[in-house]
Amino acid sequence: MVTPPWRINEILDRAETGPVCLEKDFDLKILVPELRRVIKDYDIQFDPLTPVPSDNSLADSMWNAAMDLYLEVGTLCTDTHRRIIFTEDEIKEALGNFPGKFTFGYGCDSREITNRQIEDTKRPFCMLSPDITCDEDLFVPMSMAYLQEPLADGVCAPILDEIEGMPIRSGYPTEVKGSVAHAMMFREAARRVGRPGIFLKSVGTAESDAAQIAASNPEWGERLTDGRFVASVTELKINNSLLNKMVHFHTYGCFVGALTGPILGGYTGGAEGTAIVGIAYHIQGLLVNQAHFQNYFPFHLKHTCNTTRELLWVISTTYQALARNSNLISTSNGFTAAGPCTPMVLKEAAAHSLVSVVSGGNLWEIAVAKNKHKNYATPMEARMAVEVGCGAAKEKYSREDVNEIILNLLKMYEDKIPDAPLGKNFRECYDIRKCKPSTEYMNLYKNSKKELIDYGVPFIY
């Protein structure tokens, strides 16, 4: 048996028969104390001077802490108020049957995605994504701009919040309409750039289960070779709508990704707890979300980014723990504080991908400008991240090398995070008809690349 799915009916059953638990008790009486316990028992400590640790025993302790935590806590289904709990043997069964590789996309655009080792020289799988909403008229040009990036193995489209002049409302018919349009236009954009079979992750516009299901169609919509998300509810929780998506995606037969982002400063507390919950989420993602891959975006409660010192440590230790103890596949989703066309965003993008790749992650790049400004994202930030990430693998960078570089990069942007520059939006950075970046941005990119090379940052070319 190859997982996923791992025993779908077991999950559906446990979500209705597991031990009853109120949400507040789950958060504060189960998760928080258990997390504090494992941090202490396994002696996990964040070291601000080593955002990229080279300590294998730390990685293993964190994996063990996460296993211990997840066995005790499990996942809460917030609709049924029941905990879905597993035995160690079940987790081992699911992990033991995970193949560690899949082929995403079809035809000559298909690509293999695999798990990666620490300091692996294998090129990371590169997902490119704006991770943000856009104006309706920008949807196709923005999608095409990302789809034509040479290093893209797969692309996720921007999100629509209006369709044919109507605002899209979550759970309303406009959402179904917008989600179907999203799937159709994205597919068409892929063909127009000459990559009809490229792996598409869709449809971000569909917030509800109904709208997701409406977009599944091998002819014009989401295909079996595409990927879809089953998110989680913060932290370690799920609900019926998300489980509806899980069942639908598996019975339809497409690839499933688990979307999880533990929040530093929230219930998981500091860096240690955030990383341990992040690792536990990967176990949950395999057994509950039943995912082929995970998209992982731990982030900062106040700054909605993950390029801070603590979060780079969280990302690094999560991936090291996964690489040494499983063959799970995970893309590391960058979140920067600065926006497009600023020197800062390019440094943050480089830092995120360097840390992710050397620690054993694949890439999902990149949400910018604190992920909350419509039309603020361009393929240039993603390009920087993947050129650097692929460079780190090719040039055989070690964790020590990367740690040193990161300490220097942090010096340049760390204190600017709270008031990071917003930069410019897609319209201001791109010629929309030609889907080409502005000369200003190209020059900034060139200069930043030069500067980064001086700091020892690797590039694929």
Binding site: D161, P167, S170, G171, E207, T234, N239, L301, K372
Partner: protein, 220 residues
């Protein structure tokens, strides 16, 4: 123990969210006939303010903030019960707030923080959770006799539900009965004005002050 050291111990038990310890100290203070209002105003209030500042600087995190708020709530309850018994005029909650994340939206960490900030500012908060149907905000607000309806929305596709709640209130002829405040990353002061809400703040930190200002304005 001197009064000063009892105050100090109470402050510490809130900061370290040790509920039993806080309850015991509070009882001791009452036995020593200390004015409960003095404890609330001089110890609990300023301590919670400090805790809030620490959270803002990320020196402590959400569980610590929630823990401290819980201890503060419980000890305040003991003190106010005592005030009631002794028939001294006791501080009522500033007002009742119905809070939730709007229909279609499951993002709720921001809302959870807003809840604490409103509570430590002296409001009684009824948290309806996430993905709350618009009409439910109104029904619950009437049930509990709320003064304020607070709506969180994290997506541009759910901001419309904030507007919907206000439209429903207007259509039902109940708009004047409630103060409506809104928040969440995609919202803004412009949006607040556009939909006719009474207040907006960018962060949870400002929510307590905003609600206090609005409710004082209404009372006058």
């Amino acid at each position: 123990m001197t009064l000063e050291s009892l105050f100090e111990a109470l402050k510490r038990s809130v900061e370290e969210f040790k509920l039993e310890e806080a309850k015991n100290i509070t009882k001791e203070l009452l036995k020593a006939k200390v004015d409960p209002l003095k404890v609330i105003n001089d110890v609990l209030g300023p301590t919670m303010e400090e805790v809030g500042e620490k959270f803002d600087k990320m020196e402590i995190f959400l569980p610590e903030l929630m823990g401290a708020a819980e201890v503060m709530k419980e000890t305040t309850a003991i003190l106010t019960t005592h005030l009631k018994e002794s028939a001294i005029e006791h501080p009522k909650p500033k007002g009742k707030v119905i809070l939730g994340t709007v229909h279609g939206d499951i993002h709720e960490i921001g809302k959870d923080i807003v809840k604490i900030m409103l509570e430590v500012s002296g409001f009684e908060v009824f948290d309806l959770g996430r993905d709350v149907p618009s009409i439910q905000f109104i029904e619950r607000a009437e049930e509990v006799g709320a003064d304020i309806i607070a709506l969180s929305a994290l997506m541009t596709t759910t901001m419309g539900s904030q507007k919907e709640v206000i439209e429903l209130l207007e259509a039902l002829g109940k708009r004047e009965n409630f103060i409506v405040i809104i928040g969440g990353a995609p919202t803004s002061e412009t949006w607040q004005k556009e939909i006719g809400a009474d207040g907006w703040t960018e962060t949870a930190g400002g929510a307590g002050k905003l609600a206090t200002k609005l409710i004082e304005g209404k009372v006058k």
